[in-house]
Amino acid sequence: MEMSIQSDFTLNDTSRVAVIGGGPSGTLFSFFALKMAKMIDRKLNITIFDPKAFTKDGPIGCNRCGGVISEHLVQALALEGINIPPEVVQRGIDSYVLHTQRGDVYIKSPADEKRIATVYRGGGPKGIKEKEKESFDNFLLQCAIQEGATHSPLRIDGIKNGGKPVVTSGGKDVMDADLVVGAFGVNSSTWKLFEGLDMGYKKPKTTSAFITELELGREVVSENFGSAIHFFLIPKPENIKFAALIPKGRYVTLCILGKDIDQDTVTELLQSPVAKNLLPDNIMDKKFCKCFPKLTLTTATGGFGNRMVVIGDAGSTRLFKDGIGASYIMGKAAATTAVFHGVGKEHFSEHYLPVYNRMKVDNMFGRFVYGTTSAYKNIGPLTQGMVNVVRKEQQKRKESFPRLSSMLWDTFTGNATYKSIFIRGTNLWMHFKLIWEVMKGLICRTQ
C-alpha cells in the first residue's frame, strides 16, 4: 500500500504543477519547490497562472494589503537568498508610534536597525504619477521565474478532478497537473473552484477592512512619519480593532481593521484629534485609491486532497497581521511536502497539516492577545498604565529588558507568534509594574 502511494504521488522530472495565483503564496511555493527539487536532482515544471498585472497601478495590479513586510520575514527571506532590494522597498521601518487616548508612545526596534519594509504589492495607487518603485509581488514572481517557474496570464476558471486534475480556462483544458496549488486570497473568487471539488474545502470566515492611499508628498511623509508606523489604539470609533498609518514614498497607507467598517467609520477616525495631528485638514475630501478588502478570521477546512493543496489567505493565515509571512510559512510547508514526501492527501495530512494547525492554534492565542489589547485601548486607566510603563521602558531600554514594549512591538509588527507573546504576558513583575502605574494614574486623577 505504502509503495503504491509513493509511486502514484511522487513528483518526478516529468511532473507538472499548476499554481493558481501569483501572489506571495504561489510565488514562494514555486520558488522553494523548484529549489528543493534541484537539491535532489529533480526538474519540476511549474506554471503560475495569474492574469493580474502586478506592475500596473490601481486595482488591476493590487492585492489589497497594507504592504508591510515583517521583521522576521525580511530576515528569513534574506537567509533564503531573497534580499528585498531598495527598488522594491518604499520605506524601511525601525519604530512604531502608538497613539492612545492618554498620549502617544514611541517604541523603537529592539535591534536599532531598519528591518521592516513597507511596499506596494502592485504598481501603487491608481493614477500614481512618478513610479519610482517596483511591485513586491512582481519582485517575488521574478524570483520564482529565475528559479525556473513559468508565468501564464491565463485566468483559470475550472478544475476537472479525475485521476489527475485538469485546470481549464475559457472552457479549454490548459494543463493536466500532478499537483494543483490554490494560492489565492479571500478577495478572489477562485475559492469557488475548490469548493466544488471532493476535497471538502470550505473557505474561511472573513471580516472587513479599509485601505486607502493618502498622497501627502515625500517631504510631509518623511517629516510627520519618518521611519515609523503609527498605530491608533483609541476607543472610538467603537467598531475598529485598530488602525494604522503606514508611510510609503509620497503616500501613507491608512489601514483600518474592525467590524462593519464603512465611510462613516473612516470619517470619525480621521476627525479624531490624534489623526488630525498627523494628517492635513480635509484629507478625505481628495479622491484617493481606496478599497474595503476582506480579511481572514478563521482557517479554511479541507485545505488539501490528493494532488490538491490550498495555501495563502484562503487556507491558513495569521490573524490580522503578517499575511505575507504566513504565505512564506505555508507556501514553504506545501513545497517541502510536495517535493520531499509526495502530493497525496496522506502526505499533506502528515507533513502540511501540522504547520496549518500550528497557525490555527496560534491564532487562538492571537484572539486573546487582541482581546487584552482592546481592553487596554478602551479603558482609560489601563491605557494610562500601559503608556507609562512603555515610556519608562523606552527610556531605559539599553539597561533592562523592555518586556511590555517588546510584547507590543511583536503584536503590531507580527514579529513573533501570538503564543510567545501570550507566554511573555504571564510575567508577574510586568503585571506588578502595570498595576502600580494604573493605581498611580487613578490616584493622580482623583486628587
Binding site: F32, K35, M36, M39, H72, V74, Q75, A76, A78, L79, E80, G81, N83, I84, P86, E87, V89, Q90, R91, G92, A111, D112, E113, K114, R115, A117, K133, S222, S227, G249, I329, K332, A333, T336, R358
Partner: protein, 126 residues
C-alpha cells in the same frame, strides 16, 4: 542611509564584527562589499572579500565559539543582522531555513580546499 534601505549602513573600514568577540548574530550583506581578515603574528591578513547576498558570522553561531575573523566594510556597505535566538527558533520549526546557509558554507569549504591545495603545491615547489 536612504529611506528605502533595510539593515544598517557601515562606512568604509568600519568594523561589523571583531575576531574574538562573542557571536550573538549573523549577517546578510544587502549592498556593497565586506572584507574578512584575521590577526596573525601581530599582523593582519585578508582572507576574502564578500559581496551582496552573502552571509557571514554564522560559524560562531553554530560552533558557539568566539568570532573566528574580523569583518569590516570595504567601501560603504549595508548589512542586515539576524539574531541567534530568533534564527534557531525558526530553524527548529523549519530546518530547511539552513539550506542556503549550508550551501554558502559548503562553497567556502570548497574554496578553502582549493586554496590549501594550491598553497601546498607552491610550498612543495619551493
Amino acid at each position: 542611509m536612504k529611506v528605502s534601505e533595510l539593515g544598517k549602513t557601515y562606512k568604509d573600514g568600519e568594523i561589523i564584527c571583531r575576531e574574538g568577540d562573542e557571536g550573538k548574530c549573523m549577517f546578510v550583506i544587502q549592498s556593497g562589499n565586506v572584507e574578512v581578515s584575521k590577526n596573525l603574528n601581530g599582523g593582519e591578513i585578508v582572507l576574502r572579500t564578500m559581496q551582496k547576498g552573502e552571509i557571514f558570522g554564522e560559524i560562531a553561531l553554530f560552533d558557539r565559539m568566539a568570532r573566528s575573523a574580523t569583518v569590516k566594510a570595504r567601501g560603504e556597505a549595508i548589512v542586515l543582522r539576524v539574531d541567534k535566538k530568533g534564527f534557531f527558533a525558526k530553524a527548529c520549526k523549519d530546518p530547511t531555513l539552513t539550506f542556503n546557509i549550508l550551501e554558502g558554507m559548503s562553497k567556502r569549504i570548497r574554496d578553502l580546499t582549493h586554496e590549501l591545495s594550491k598553497y601546498q603545491e607552491n610550498s612543495e615547489m619551493v
